[in-house]
């Protein structure tokens, strides 16, 4: 008999918490797969997670940017959430993300790993409105 597979409890609890927050937040699994983002992040990006579904690392990068201060795409390996998953350490950066309506938002992103007794299970990235952003339309509570 094969058992049904299931998300680690820590990811389930993280998603439940994120669902209740008004701060935009992303959740990725241990492989870097974007497995959830909350309603506030959906407002920021212009698309609800239910519309997008689970997407791989390269796809969500191309959907939303992000870009550095000079407008260049930030390499996947340099994203805070990717650093958090791989190194098991928190990471922080300023960046610009693109919404599906074409608008851009300057944000600061804080990412931290989800470490458990069984090792790293993923990471959470929280988006904060940038205090220094040129666009002046950073991520804020929805």
């Amino acid at each position: 008999m094969s058992f049904v597979t299931q998300r680690p409890l820590e990811l389930i609890l993280a998603r439940n918490l994120m669902s209740a927050l008004s701060t935009p937040a992303f959740l990725v699994d241990e492989g870097g797969l974007l497995v959830f983002y909350n309603e506030a992040a959906g407002l920021l990006l212009g698309k609800r997670f239910e519309e997008l579904g689970t997407v791989g690392p390269q796809e969500w990068g191309s959907l939303f940017g992000p870009f550095d201060e000079s407008g260049e795409p930030i390499p996947y390996d340099d994203l805070p959430i990717v650093k958090a998953v791989r190194a098991g350490r928190p990471a922080h950066a300023e960046m610009t993300v693109r919404s599906t309506d074409g608008s851009s938002h300057d944000v600061e992103v804080s990412a931290f790993p989800i470490l458990t007794a069984h090792g790293s299970q993923g990471a959470i990235a929280v988006f904060w409105p940038s205090l220094a952003g040129a666009n002046g339309n950073g991520a804020g509570p929805a």
Binding site: S2, F3, V4, T5, P8, L9, I12, S19
Partner: protein, 293 residues
């Protein structure tokens, strides 16, 4: 596989004339496998009577602990086989980054809370953290998974032949989540209970009581029923009764649960409230495939 309920109460023992039917002992379930060997699920005060019912002969016993709250370990120092040198006891439980399973249990089995220390137990006792993967005890395949409760807590699934038994006595899967909307793999404990022949699940609170206990790690009746419906368990027994719930109250809650289950399209005979000393014999059935997500 036979399942016998030796303790159905949650939180603290609740003996007395008002709890005779559903019982006053805290969580303990005995499982007799197809080869005759016995597993104990949790070691609340109910394990005392389980120990007295076991034959006094050399044996190897496994105790599977969901977590270390007192209502799940209080009976350990009153478990008769632990005081027989010819008995080997293996205690399984959740890992914690803070201390080993043995050290955490020893906080209870030590002075001043206990007259004996772990090292003084006459039996041959060992402690093992549950592995991430499935493992075998006799003819049974065991699987554990972390579930939503306070502190490191496991649920268990035991497969023996074609029968399966899921045991999730302390569980709040609806905390911050809508069980009717979530995808299967995002529901705490889902994989353990999927298509189980028998599901023993937390049903500590009525729906009216739950709002005052959000985040305490337990389920309301409607949450337990939603979980049962989502997982497709063939038979569900609501367990871990609140110590304030009398037989009269629980009888009413049981009727309400059956009614609601019927309204959800289920067979009311497939839902009941746990009664101490109840026994369930899980039928051998034709194998059926289990879908993987």
């Amino acid at each position: 596989m036979k399942v016998k309920l030796w303790g159905t109460r949650g939180s603290i023992p609740a003996p007395g004339p008002e709890t005779i039917r559903y019982g006053g002992n805290t969580s303990c379930v005995g499982v007799t496998l197809s080869d005759g060997s016995v597993l104990a699920l949790d070691a609340g005060t109910g394990i005392r009577c389980l120990g007295l019912a076991l034959p006094d002969e050399p044996s190897r016993l496994h105790i599977l602990l969901t977590h270390l709250h007192l209502d799940h370990i209080q009976g350990l120092v009153f478990f008769a086989p632990a005081f027989r040198p010819q008995t080997e006891i293996v205690i399984w439980g959740p890992a914690s980054p803070e201390a080993s399973l043995r050290d955490r249990i020893a906080r209870y089995i030590s002075a001043p809370l206990s007259p004996v220390e772990v090292r003084e137990l006459p039996c041959d006792v060992s402690f093992r953290h549950c592995p991430e993967s499935e493992w075998e005890i006799g003819p049974a395949r065991i699987r554990s998974a972390s579930v939503s409760h306070r502190g490191p807590t496991l649920g268990y699934r035991i497969d023996d032949g074609d029968s399966s038994f899921a045991y999730i006595p302390d569980h709040e899967p609806a905390l911050g989540a809508d069980l009717d909307q979530l995808e299967d793999d995002w529901i705490s404990g889902f994989a353990l209970a999927k298509d189980a022949s028998l599901l023993l699940h937390d049903g500590q609170y009525s729906d009216a009581e739950y709002p005052n206990h959000v985040g305490w790690g337990h389920s309301a009746t409607s949450h337990a029923l939603s979980f049962a419906r989502r997982t497709g368990a063939e038979r569900t027994v609501l367990f871990h009764h609140d110590p304030l719930h009398s037989d009269e109250f629980l009888a009413g809650l049981g009727k309400e649960a059956k009614q609601r289950w019927s309204e959800m399209g289920g067979d009311p005979a497939a839902i009941e409230l746990a009664e101490e000393r109840s026994e369930y014999e899980l039928p051998v059935r034709a194998s059926r495939p289990v879908a993987t997500a």
